[in-house]
């Protein structure tokens, strides 16, 4: 089971330098900056595209490359460059804006709606004639009305307020579970990568083993058997369960980064001056491995949110009185034939959010590491 999912390809170490006669002259490797940040990757020709720019193109050899020495001072501007590249990516910017709007709306929206219309997410109208599902933008008498822009559900509750309230939970689950996975993954991967040897073997073998487990089944068992005690407890269970199963890839990424970084001079320097091992790991290695970690974390958020929605849909996730986009969709499906808006609004809001987060993650990856080409 020690095999990685992608088996190792034995590649010969070849001086693949295409022998630049001037290398010796250029007196420096792409040197590390005082902060120890590796220099920015060379700027490669890009086809000026938006989606999934794969910037490196088969131009003979490195013929169109900016010479390496030009990056000597570029280290500190790594993040600035990445940011610039990100802003050039229209879909990523679109994703960023949409996510920001939805996040703001979720946080502030319910309060505003309450002021404007008096509806909270769980307000059931006192008048029993209003305890019905009205279509969007429709008043009880069938005329146009702004009161319920997304209509009401079968209990007469305002769907917009419920979608925004659900957004709070969904986004919180996404963020907190990702945070949990980050903490576990980084600790695990950094420890394995830095200590190496037997510890590394053991830790990564455990990861390999866990990879092969259909973990969603176990999450279902966990939530089904331990859940149902109180709605709040259920949500915490979700954070923990989803975080606990999402850290595997993170651990691998961090380990890879750490191994490639740990032999560089600035680590040796830190060690030579007597800095302790944990301090080296967290002060020096973790910050340097950050790029891919940020990218992967951004992509973990939508995937965790999707899992949450999936579990809520099955009735194992968020429970009343709380709601999430998943549980709202689940309710909506019951009435899809008659009141399609009950599914469409929470479902589409969630899909739009995930869509945007995925584009943002893709954009970040292209911006931070033009060379990293995973899917």
């Amino acid at each position: 089971m020690s095999e990685e999912r992608t088996p190792q390809v034995p590649t010969e170490q070849v001086p693949n330098e295409e022998g630049r006669p001037t290398r010796a002259v250029a007196d420096s490797d792409p040197a590390l900056t005082p902060r120890g940040t590796p220099p920015a990757p060379p700027v490669r020709p890009r086809a000026g595209d938006e989606i999934h720019a794969f910037p490196e193109t088969a131009v003979g050899e490195g013929d169109v490359r900016v010479p390496e020495g030009a990056q000597v001072v570029a280290g500190t501007s790594l993040w600035k460059d990445a940011w610039k590249r990100l802003l050039k990516n229209r879909l990523a910017v679109f994703g960023m804006i949409v996510v920001a709007i939805i996040a703001f709306a979720s946080v502030l929206g319910p309060g505003i709606i309450k002021r404007a219309t008096g509806f909270e997410y769980d307000t059931i109208p006192a008048d029993s004639n209003l305890v019905r599902s009205f279509p969007p933008l429709t008043a009880p008498d069938g005329s146009f009305s702004w009161t319920h822009p997304m209509g009401t559900d079968s209990a007469g509750r305002d769907i917009l307020a419920r979608v925004l309230q659900g957004g709070r939970i969904s986004l919180a689950v996404g963020l907190i579970s990702t945070l949990v996975s980050l903490i576990i993954g980084i600790t695990w991967g950094a420890t394995a990568g830095y200590l190496g040897g037997k510890v590394d073997d053991l830790l990564m073998r455990i990861v390999d083993v866990l990879y092969a487990i259909p973990y969603m089944m176990i999450v279902i068992v966990l939530l089904a058997f331990f859940g149902g005690q109180s709605p709040l407890y259920q949500i915490f269970l979700l954070f923990a369960a989803l975080g606990a199963v999402s850290w595997l890839t993170m651990a691998r990424i961090v380990r890879g980064q750490v191994i490639s970084l740990k032999n560089q001079e600035f680590v040796l320097a830190a060690r030579a001056t007597g800095v302790s091992t944990p301090k080296i790991i967290f002060r020096h290695l973790v910050p340097n491995a950050l790029g891919p970690v940020i990218v992967y974390a951004t992509l973990t958020i939508p995937s965790v949110m999707l899992s949450e929605a999936f579990l809520s849909f099955l009735g194992l996730g968020v429970q009343a009185p709380y709601s999430s986009w998943g549980s709202l969709s689940s309710e909506g499906i019951q009435n899809i034939a008659i009141f399609p808006w009950q599914l469409i609004f929470p479902g589409v809001t969630m899909a739009l959010t995930l869509f945007s987060l995925n584009f943002l993650g893709d954009g970040l990856r292209d911006a931070l590491d033009p060379q990293m080409r995973k899917f």
Partner: protein, 344 residues
């Protein structure tokens, strides 16, 4: 530049640009040269000088986007390859003009048996049957000196060493007895001892078949013994063009002189440090207004930074892109006299 008659290949004012984030990179910017049948031309330059792009342009292998052949003519037997339909170009590629690439490690398809990769080319161009193609493949492998060629023909590339793979590449390139072989840094990725063997092999095969060769390299030492003419490229331009002997004996361009000085020469006095050209190859996307080599040049003057240098004809076959071409040429000639005789 000589007339077109008798030329196998004439490149005229070739320009290949790349659109990058950083702006337009003029990787090849107005290159012209001729190659006669049976002759060998060396193209020398640092990486980024555009020498590989030049030759990829010749057989239209530039990826587009981002690359684009902006203008120029590539006359092969008087026919302009750049204006031929793609179909016709494919019939030339591999059959009449073939290429050997720099890195034999990655240039062979790792998923395909060597025999198949060789057979493919003769089946395509010579209409060989499977059996014929296989026999031909084994024969080619023997020709390039693969021991036990028949037994090893069905290996995968990763089972071969770097030198062996480059031999396979050569076998592949020569399968259809092309009229022109373009060898793009064929020895750069190889060990020094292997380098010599591969060069020797190319030379031998060239003599046997009468193929014309364009040898691209960054290493003047490599071209010295092999070529009839040499082109020195820098920043997408031809800096100097001359017959090999002449170029080594009396370089007319400061860049060439600097390159020559940086070649380790066993004949040189021991104890002297190897010369290094100061600075870095230029950022081709942002060239200075004057001479692109000016920032690194040892005899730079004010005009060099301001004005683009002229392409000066020094004698019948010797050209140099420099404001001071004549002076440099004269100095070189004088030095040669002083040393007493023709170098190499």
């Amino acid at each position: 530049m000589s007339s077109q008659n008798g030329n196998l290949l004439s490149v005229r004012d070739l320009r290949t640009y790349f659109e990058t984030e950083d702006g337009t990179v003029r990787a090849v910017d107005g290159i012209s040269f001729d190659l006669k049948r049976g002759e060998t031309l060396g193209i020398v330059g640092e990486s980024g000088s555009g020498k590989s792009v030049t030759n990829l342009s010749v057989i239209r292998l530039i990826q587009s986007p981002p690359g684009r052949i902006v203008s120029g003519e590539v006359l092969f037997h008087g026919e302009d390859i750049l204006s031929l339909p793609a179909e016709e170009v494919r019939r030339i590629r591999g059959k009449r003009i073939s290429m050997i690439f720099q890195d034999p490690m990655t240039s062979l398809n790792p998923f395909m048996r060597i025999s198949r990769q060789l057979m493919e080319i003769t089946q395509l161009h010579l209409g060989h049957t499977k059996e014929q193609a296989y026999e031909h493949a084994v024969k080619m492998l023997e020709t390039v000196g693969i021991p036990e060629a028949r037994a090893r023909a069905d290996s995968y590339p990763h089972e071969f060493s770097g030198g062996m793979r480059q031999r396979v590449m050569i076998a592949m390139a020569l399968s259809c007895e092309p009229e022109l072989l373009i060898a793009d840094e064929p020895t750069t990725a190889l060990d020094v001892t292997i380098q010599a063997q591969i060069l020797e092999l190319i030379r031998k095969l060239k003599e046997k078949t009468g193929t014309s060769v364009i040898l691209i390299t960054h290493d003047l030492g490599v071209v010295a013994g092999m070529t009839d003419d040499i082109i020195v490229m820098y920043a997408g331009k031809i800096f100097e063009q001359a017959p090999t002997r002449e170029l080594f004996a009396a370089p007319g361009n400061p860049y060439t002189k600097a390159l020559l000085k940086s070649v380790p020469d066993p004949a040189h006095e021991e104890g002297t440090d190897l010369y290094q050209i100061p600075g870095l190859p230029p950022d081709v996307a942002h060239l200075p207004p004057g001479c692109p080599f000016a920032p690194r040049c040892f005899r730079v003057e004010e005009i060099c930074r301001r004005e683009f240098p002229p392409f000066v004809q020094l004698n019948a076959e010797h050209f140099s892109l420099c404001h001071f071409a004549a002076e440099v040429y004269a100095e070189s000639s004088a030095e040669r006299e002083a040393k007493g005789g023709v170098g190499r």
